[in-house]
Symmetry: C2
Subunit: 452 residues, 2 copies
């Protein structure tokens, strides 16, 4: 991740056409954009911010190669664009400031997760990649906290690479799932790149590759003593559980991957216990999600670990987060001019903002206020912190392990009703987020001006 | 894409632990795995195969760097594994054969999309990446055909990068959407890498960045004469449409991105037509999908192009495809031994298979037979073709444009009832896929043997 990459084309075309038009009009003044989610998905009562590290790495490394600018120059749409634009791209480096909510923190609708202040063109070009990165990792980190909560302390391992939206998505799904509390991933590249613990058992094909099931079990155990988790359901789970007793208490675990997971886990537990294998763990997998895990845990199924794939790694019930990136302020003649959009249902709040969070008497969060970044009177902890100055990442970003700890603490501070797996039934269960009086006043004033 | 990449760790851990166990037992015989979808998602009546080119590129380039093998060696689980395994990885190159259904072809449940025959370890390691690649692109190409069908000839542009599962996913979403019939994408990197036509208009922020809306319109038009699509809904769509008449018939298009798209399109069309701008196109966007487009088209809304984002690029209604990769045969003592899995609801068919497709009197596909690869008596066109020999890609893979043409032809040959946007109501609307008598017999025999 260290070396500079050419990422100039990792964007939507209109970012580059707008850039050319801005440049031709000399519109190079500084502007501020904010990235936020307008409305939480119906099945989510909070979000866990994630993806900032990759977003910042992109912004820092963003540049255009000769090959990339040549490609742009050859596009029909750029045929009449002045050569000065391509010179501009050739020298392009992001020079602005970024404030952001740290990874792992809980956020709510309307709250800026990232605030970018830079010359207009620079701030505009980064939109697409920032959104793709923050939207996706936030989506998965949030989903992971739900699955982890359902596990009530049982370990959750992320398993979903094969169903992800390409292997690149799998890599970041593993990272975000770890932030959300998974103990690890099956994804080796994610282990290599991010230091996430990697886990694995065996596939049905391994059992099938041997003439007898017990031969497969022995072959694996011989190479990985103390590290073996046997997959039981290739032919018959109960029969395989009996075979597994041959290995005694040195067997780390067994995995059940089909059928009535709760019922089978009970039978398998009994077989193992009778063989004195009380320390051998039972892992369950097979299209699991927070609801199925919740049911298994509540029913007392003796399952120690859950492997969760598709539903977690694609956030199957809510597979996209609608984060947006909106212009809120622009410098004009030395003045910061507020900006907002009036489109029906897509109205935005102008001005650079900050979010303040309050803690109630029970030690849990009790409400946020979104105000103007320079307000000084708003009680609570300000969430956005400076993470980039003049295109350089501010030293001291937390490690991934630290981010996971942040998210864990957030989960403890969230009001209990927000963590219900089912959508809060009544309005008061929604976390209270309000706008400061000064911000409301600014919005009203500007809206009135614009509507004239 | 040309140079060799180290992709060894782009897999699940268990592929590598199984590899070590296979090697220690000398299990290096050739085996065949097949990639298929057990069951179509409820909202899909067919799939359009996609992703093969990236899958083959991965298999061809797959190798392990020193750094990667050192990482594996340092993992606790590999602590007792013989050094010979790491030597094996250091020299690893895929040496096998691959047969596959060409990209763009329609496929159905149970039909192998990809068949890999190689030394057991090689065939096993590639599973995760193949699945992630084929599952995702097939998912999006299929979704795209639905959106394109709904458009009834109106152009569909893929727009969804910002909501994709990381920017890497966006790149392949754009490719797959193009296969499914989109005319292009907003994703510049996808244009650069795959030669897909790129499209763009302008964002609300562009309008906001100017003091007056008309200033923004003029600035853009000046730089991109004949190529300008003005975004109308930053403040008020109808007012903006009147402003747009200033540019006359040289204005390529306008875009409406919020509100009642059909009603606004009618009003805007009238304003443009009255100004003699009958050639100026109207584009609509705003959380569109096949159902909304179908409604707009059927209602006669004068919309010429649709920009489709989130729903298309994440296949939001069906965000994951459950493709699996199963061992079907393994060489033992010079004999090809059939393999199958008995797990409840996850039973597989043994043996190397081929799919034959028949065309009915109406020129449309009327049924497929899945049989043993070496059967010679089955009528119809065999779908799987050899695409890799001894680790080398067979020359003459189609270009992306050719693949798009293949998919277009498939859509014309699919039974009409399969293309209904709503799920076929009754069982006979499901496309008929059967297994050959010889294959059924093989399965019965093997199942009987295994259950003994």
């Amino acid at each position: 991740m260290g070396k500079a990459r050419m990422l100039g084309l990792a964007t939507d075309l209109y970012q580059l056409t707008m850039a050319a038009a801005y440049l031709s009009r000399g519109k190079t003044a500084r502007a501020t954009f904010e990235l936020f989610v307008r409305k939480l998905p119906e099945q989510r009562s909070y979000l866990i911010a994630a993806g900032l590290e990759q977003a910042l790495g992109y912004v820092r490394d963003l540049s255009f190669s000769e090959e990339e600018t040549a490609y742009l120059r050859g596009l029909p749409i750029f045929s009449k664009v002045d050569g000065g634009f391509f010179d501009y791209l050739r020298d392009f480096r992001f020079s602005g400031e970024i404030e952001a909510v740290p990874e792992g923190r809980a956020v709510f609708a309307g709250e800026p997760l990232v605030r970018v202040t830079a010359p207009l063109i620079e701030a505009q070009i980064v939109e697409t990649f920032l959104l793709a990165t923050i939207n996706f990792q936030t989506l998965i980190a949030t989903k992971a906290t739900r699955v982890v909560e359902a596990g009530q302390g049982r370990a959750i391992i992320e398993f979903g690479a094969r169903r992800c939206h390409s292997f690149g998505a799998a890599l970041y799904a593993a990272r975000a799932a770890f932030i959300g509390g998974c103990v690890g991933t099956s994804n080796v590249e994610a282990g290599f790149q991010f230091g996430i613990p990697v886990f694995g058992t065996a596939a049905h094909s391994f059992t099938l590759a041997f003439e007898q099931e017990i031969d497969a079990f022995r072959a694996f155990y011989e190479v990985f003593p103390e590290q073996t988790t046997l997959l039981l359901d290739t032919y018959d789970t109960i029969r395989a559980a009996h075979l597994a007793t041959e290995f005694g208490s040195g067997l780390r675990g067994v995995r059940i991957d089909s059928g009535d997971l709760g019922g089978l886990a009970r039978e398998v537990r009994e077989i193992l216990d009778r063989a004195g294998m009380t320390g051998t763990k039972i892992m369950a997998s097979s299209d699991l999600n927070e609801y199925k895990i919740d049911e298994l845990v509540r029913s007392g199924a003796p399952i120690d670990l859950f492997g969760v794939g598709t539903d977690l790694s694609t956030s199957r019930d809510v597979p996209a987060l609608g984060g947006v990136y909106k212009l809120v302020e622009i410098m004009t003649d030395g003045q910061a001019v507020p900006k907002m959009k009036l489109s029906r249902e897509k109205l935005t709040y102008p001005r650079r903002k900050q979010v303040w969070r309050r803690i109630g008497d029970d030690g849990r969060y009790c409400g946020d206020t979104i105000g103007l970044a320079d307000e000084r009177e708003i009680p609570g902890e300000p969430l956005l912190q400076q993470v980039m100055v003049e295109g350089r990442i501010v030293p001291g970003l937390p490690t991934l392990q630290e981010v996971q700890a942040v998210a864990r603490e957030e989960m403890e501070r969230l009001p209990l009703e927000l963590k219900s797996l089912h959508n809060p039934a009544s309005y008061p269960a929604i976390y209270p987020v309000s706008y400061s009086a000064r911000l409301e006043e600014e919005r009203r004033k500007l809206q009135h001006e614009l509507e004239e």
